[in-house]
Amino acid sequence: MGLLSDPKSRERFSRIAAKYNSPLCVLAYVVGVVWFLALAYKPFNHRTYFSENALLPGLVEGKFRTENVATRISQAMKDIKDVNKDGPMPVAWIVNQFRGLGLDTYTQEYIQTIPVPSARQSEEQGKEMFVQLNGTNVYAILRAPRTASTEAIVLSAPYKHYLNMDHNNHAFGLMIALASHFRKSSYWSKDIIFLLVDYDEIGMEAWLQEYHYTKSPLLKSSPLHGRSGSIQAAINLELHSDQVSHFNVKLEGLNGLLPNLDLVNLVVQLCGRERITVKLHQQRDPFPSEGWPAFQQNLKTMSLMMLHQATGMPNGLHGLFLRYHIEAVTLEGVLEPGRSSTGFYRMGRVLEGVFRSLNNLLERFHQSFFFYLLPASDRYVSIGMYMPPFGLILLVTALKAIALYISIGTPDPDPWDGAENVVIEHIQSRKTGDGQGDNTDSKRGVTKIRTQNYSDGDVWSLVPVVSCCQVAGFIASISPMVMTGLGHLFGTRPYQALITGATGMFFASLFMPKCITRNRLACTVNTLRLWKCAALVLQAIILAATAAANFSLGMLLAVTMVPVCAMVRPGKLRFLQAVLMLLVSPLGLLIIYTGLYLLLTETEYHGVVPSAMHLCTIVYYNILSGVIHGYVLGTWQYTLLALAVFPNWLFFWCIVFKKRDVPVVENKEEKKTS
């Protein structure tokens, strides 16, 4: 505790922190970013390994031979769909398929009230979705012969309502084939639930809510008549064709949750054994695995994972399981033209292996990592490795805040030329002398005393600013729904109303500094230092809390916001600062990161204007789905941005435009004229 109690070492520390502040900040930031990027490089990350020995994936011998069932069923389902293109899911037919195998089969109907039309689904479907959505889930339970239904594993597949694409009939075919194979075996010690979900996430959410007896006001569903025990793990299957060239493993779940790394390892390992390529975000593992190109590839995979995770939206149905503490992944079978492909036989063997390994589990997944990033399917970066660079980046904020705090109350002209300090003090004392200087009467006594000793920053001036920013954030968080309601009255299209609501407050609050400047807050240099210090402290807290819950979001925010926010200062180069600040505003960041995502994924380039148009469309849909997912599935990313990040950003924005005490400027002009 030397630093806390010994005044000498304290003084030394504060002198170093103040004197070498900018170099230290630059150093911390650069080292943090480089270190973080380097984690994607092979020597700096680790090879994945099995922590949970009970899985025993090596002991499984594949016996799956019913691939012809899969082909038959998927073709039959396709035929049904072809007859009735626009129709609902063929529930009766599906139930018959399951019943034919002798499984306990049940259906569940649900009605979801969507506050506004769902963007993503209407895009997929090519028509407007309505406010109410009906669907029916079908599920069948294979009762474990060895135990009394206390535990279960889920194999799920969504039934997609595409007009001109496959609706995941291959996955259903494979599911039936696996069911017919599994029911012949006697070694199951966990129930297996086969679940076919109507509409993507909403159907899954309805089923999970009902299974766990949780309720949401917008989603009404019929009770489940058949149940099993607590679900240990789930595999979600999406197959685009009957022949696949690789499995794309999707991990990122709701609110940035990730499944236990052991489950991911299991899938990757078993795919490797059946010689099916595994990709993450459609990115192949680099070969050779060392060298510059490999690093680039790893970095790309890791960035894509982070960009996905940061959105907080699940990229497959598995994402909803994670909220209920059920480990789950989505296997997406993709056929890439020109690559060797495999059929149902090998896919079936992979899934058989996965389920038999899961069957061996003795306790819930708890051994391996829950917080990780994957630069390749067999390499991982754990929380212990990525937190230090993140900490370094936050250190920039902390160092700046400390330096500003130290500089408050000293006449030292170090940050933000305090040469005016003397003048201000003079004026301040004169002003308080005749009682005009105070913004509020109640603080008169306090301010008067403060002006005597070097006009400490006025702590009370923080209250109106912070509360104004928070109110703006609160309005931004509720305005999409309010605007949709209002738009309904005036006949505006719901999308437009929603977007206006989500971004309107942002644009409106850009003018907030004007309002605050007009209000005559006594704003000395020290007060402004205090403002910025408080803003930095708040920022560090917000970023740290965000990173704890959703690391990628925290990291992406920190990397961009921290340097700009640490640099802003009132007064000089206002235009440049404003441009930079706009870039790191929540909306600016969304555009930047969407652009980055497109840059990493899109292969062809159409020219500036079409690309920009494309970018705008994607950003538009991202905002829409962010808001709507918040209401339908309970993602908190939009709320977080509106209630925490945006007010904090607005605080910095006010600091940029905050004029120092008006009388000081007048005084200076007087001096110049005289």
Binding site: L4, S5, D6, P7, K8, R10, L257, L258, L322, R323, H325, H366, F370, F371, A401, I402, Y405, D441, S442, G445, V446, I449, N453, V537, L538, A540, I541, I542, A544, A545, A548, A549
Partner: protein
């Protein structure tokens, strides 16, 4: 010599009643809005706001057990005191809607009491300064308290209590922490007014209700004895202290006897005092006990229980020696100390200590870790729910994450306490030796706390 005329013209202290109605309005409004919103149910089960002792869920359990004619203290569910249980029983029998109103009133009254504590302590400080001003260094005039400086203190304290988000949330969660704060604030007020019977009664009520305030009696006794000596220098110090202790013991035993009469059994004693002392419930909370005692081998339990409980109360002795001339400051420090080291702390406990801080605002300029403390405090308050959620609901984090936050929270409070103590002592030093005392060689001396 120059201090002489200053002593004659005593600084006038008139608390400004301005803006009080806004503070009351805003505080009550925020509480009422939060209580009626859908967040109230969620808040009730927040471990940061409701401990096993103060949780409203357990109170309803106790009420319904009482309704069915079963003693609430027989099981391991209910740990509030019998008198409070009876109070709520009457309220719920008269009209269920009285309960939220009651919680609002409790916070309102606590706010008023805190305001009065501020007024009285400020008067006491000025009076004391007037008595001692002759012994102060002539250079340290700038350090002396002025009435003007203190005028806004009671109002600040009221604001710090009523507008503190922690007390607002804790009130909306129907946590009986509000009631605990009420009795402690009452004890502080009665103590500073110096009436022996009233002070001991209030301290007895506080110790009956929250157990730990029993150590308050030491500074209270010292304060009363000092006051009596001022009035009548012939009064014996020790006799006065013994009188106070005796009166306290009488009040406390009569309270306990009253509780005995409620159920005609002593079961409640082990369920309330015993529960707080033995800390058998290891559900995570913001305190320091649960993690240690879940990790520990069972045969060390008694030993460490003694260590932890002694840690909570032991500081009263060294502080009584060091701060023998400043029992009021001692008393306020003890409020903070028990809020950190008690077995089932909540945010509400710390909030009461925070609202007492403005009285000692004149020491703040000697504090050295204020920035650090504020940052740590904010961090732990924001991160605690986040990590709790990750641990309990998502299952991705674990107990260590949450415990790290509770450690940071406790450390922040301990820093605040030690820093305040240091600042107070340093100000006293400067009062006697001038604001910039020189060493023999004329070098400015360095203060060091080792």
């Amino acid at each position: 010599m120059s201090a002489e005329p200053r002593a004659e013209q005593r600084p006038q202290f008139r608390p400004v009643p301005k803006a009080l109605k806004y503070i009351f309005g805003l505080g009550l409004g925020a509480r009422a809005v939060l209580m009626s919103s859908h967040l109230a149910g969620w808040l009730q089960d927040r471990l940061e706001l409701a401990s096993p002792v103060t949780s409203w869920t357990r109170m309803t359990e106790g009420l319904s057990l009482l309704d069915h004619g079963i003693s609430p203290y027989e099981g391991d569910m209910f740990h509030e005191t019998p008198l409070v249980l009876m109070l709520f029983y009457c309220l719920s029998k008269i009209w269920g809607g009285l309960i939220p109103i009651f919680f609002l009133l409790v916070d309102l009254v606590t706010g008023c009491l805190v305001h009065e504590v501020g007024t009285n302590v400020c008067r006491h400080l000025l009076e004391k300064q007037g008595r001692h001003v002759k012994s102060y260094s002539t250079d340290s005039l700038s350090l002396l308290l002025t009435g003007k400086q203190l005028n806004s203190v009671p109002r600040l304290m009221l604001g710090a209590y009523l507008l503190n988000p922690l007390t607002i949330a804790s009130c909306a969660a129907y946590s009986t922490t509000g009631l605990h704060n009420l009795v402690i604030a009452g004890a502080l007020l009665a103590a500073v007014q110096g009436n022996r019977l009233l002070a001991t009664l209030a301290t007895a009520v506080a110790s009956y209700q929250c157990v730990y305030p029993e150590i308050f009696i030491i500074p209270v006794a010292m304060y009363i004895a000092q006051r009596e000596q001022q009035v009548n220098p012939k009064e014996d110090y020790v006799t006065s202290v013994l009188h106070t202790l005796l009166s306290y013991a009488l009040w406390l035993s009569s309270l306990l006897f009253l509780s005995f009469l409620c159920f005609l059994s002593w079961d409640f004693f082990s369920a309330t005092v015993g529960f707080v002392m033995l800390a058998p419930d290891l559900t995570p909370n913001m305190g320091l006990f649960w993690y240690f005692f879940t990790e520990m081998f069972e045969h060390f339990r008694i030993f460490f229980l003694c260590v932890f409980q002694l840690n909570a109360v032991f500081y009263v002795i060294p502080l009584a020696v060091k701060l023998r001339d400043h029992p009021m400051f001692h008393l306020h420090l003890l409020v903070g100390l028990t809020a950190v080291f008690k077995s089932y702390p909540t945010f509400g406990d710390a909030a009461l200590f925070l609202s007492l801080l403005p009285v000692w605002g004149h020491c703040f300029k000697y504090m050295r870790n204020l920035f650090l403390v504020v940052c740590m405090w904010l961090y732990s308050i924001v991160l605690a729910p986040v990590l709790w959620h990750l641990w309990i609901y998502y299952g991705s984090a674990n107990a260590n994450f949450f415990y790290a936050v509770t450690l940071a929270y406790a450390t922040a409070q301990i820093f605040l306490l030690t820093d305040l103590l240091y600042a107070f002592l340093r100000r006293e030093f400067h009062l006697r030796h001038g604001p910039a005392p020189k060493e023999g060689q004329g070098m400015p001396i360095l203060m060091n706390l080792k």
